[in-house]
């Protein structure tokens, strides 16, 4: 499990390929990649008028196996499976499903309401709703 950023993606960054993202110039949701993509939980990040939505595939995980936390300007998703060990009588013919732990950190934008982040699990998909908190521009009067 790697939480400490090894490298910040500069090339092949899915975000930078999206023209819509250009205006944020690699601002929010910049992610610290662990470098091992096959073991990274696939994620979608969608923004609408009110919220940011993060969807992450966590097949086989229960609610209790997932921890979500915010640390400084990052949202950290950690998932530890509650696996039953395979007994001696069971033969394993194929084992493609990753049964280890996942961790992924997402850089959060500043304009969010940290107190009201909500999460739910449905059909092996984690959904995190982060409400926006847009502060109006403040004008400072010269005294």
């Amino acid at each position: 499990m790697i939480l400490i950023p090894k490298k910040i993606m500069t090339e092949h960054d899915p975000i930078s390929m999206l023209p819509l993202y250009d205006r944020y110039a690699r601002g929010f949701f910049r992610e610290h990649e662990s470098g091992d993509r096959s073991r990274t939980l696939p994620m979608d990040i969608i923004e609408n008028d009110k919220d940011y939505l993060i969807l992450a595939n966590l097949p086989g995980f229960e609610k209790k196996d997932v921890t979500i936390s915010t640390r400084k300007d990052h949202l950290i998703i950690e998932a530890k499976p509650d696996n039953q060990p395979v007994d001696d009588k069971t033969k394993v013919h194929y084992s493609e499903r990753f049964n280890g732990s996942y961790a992924r950190a997402v850089h959060l934008p500043e304009t969010i309401d940290r107190e009201n982040i909500k999460a739910s699990m449905n059909d092996g998909v984690l959904m995190i709703t982060i409400p926006k908190n847009v502060q109006p521009n403040k004008e400072i009067v010269v005294e």
Binding site: L18, N48, Y52, N57, K89, E96, G124, V125
Partner: protein, 135 residues
């Protein structure tokens, strides 16, 4: 992702690999990772299908092949949205699993829970050897 083969005697699953041929429907194992286990009673196939609903999943047994297909219905909400990241695959995909001969194909059971499909395939009693009399 690597496909681990732990049992070299298990030749019946060989076609499994060959089935990832060019096809419009994705058969990429990363999209539907599968485990196959065997014990004395039967076989257990487990497939990762996060976000797939029961009604979007089709399981067919035909000529010793187990076919798993899913084509999720696209939910098109008209809300204005910006996609910052899109890594989750939400298209159609399928996988074919060659079944061994000693399967009780009439008693296959499937269960979908937390985005994991579990298919239990009981073993059938081996057919007794048959002597053929010369007419």
């Amino acid at each position: 992702m690597r496909l681990l083969r732990r049992d070299s005697d298990w030749s019946l699953f060989d076609d499994f690999l060959n089935s990832f041929t060019n096809d419009r429907i994705s058969r990429d194992s990363r999209l539907m990772a599968v485990d196959v286990l065997e014990n004395d009673e039967g076989y257990q196939v487990m497939a990762n299908l996060p976000g797939v609903k029961r009604e979007d999943l089709k399981i067919t047994v035909k000529a010793n092949e187990l076919l798993l297909e899913t084509c999720p219905e696209k939910v098109d909400n008209e809300q204005k949205k910006i996609v910052h990241m899109k890594e989750r695959y939400d298209g159609c995909y399928q996988r074919v699993i060659k079944l061994p001969e000693n399967c009780d194909q009439d008693s296959i059971k499937a269960n979908l829970k937390n985005g994991v499909l579990t298919i239990s395939i009981p073993k059938a009693d081996p057919k007794p050897d048959k002597t053929i009399t010369i007419e």
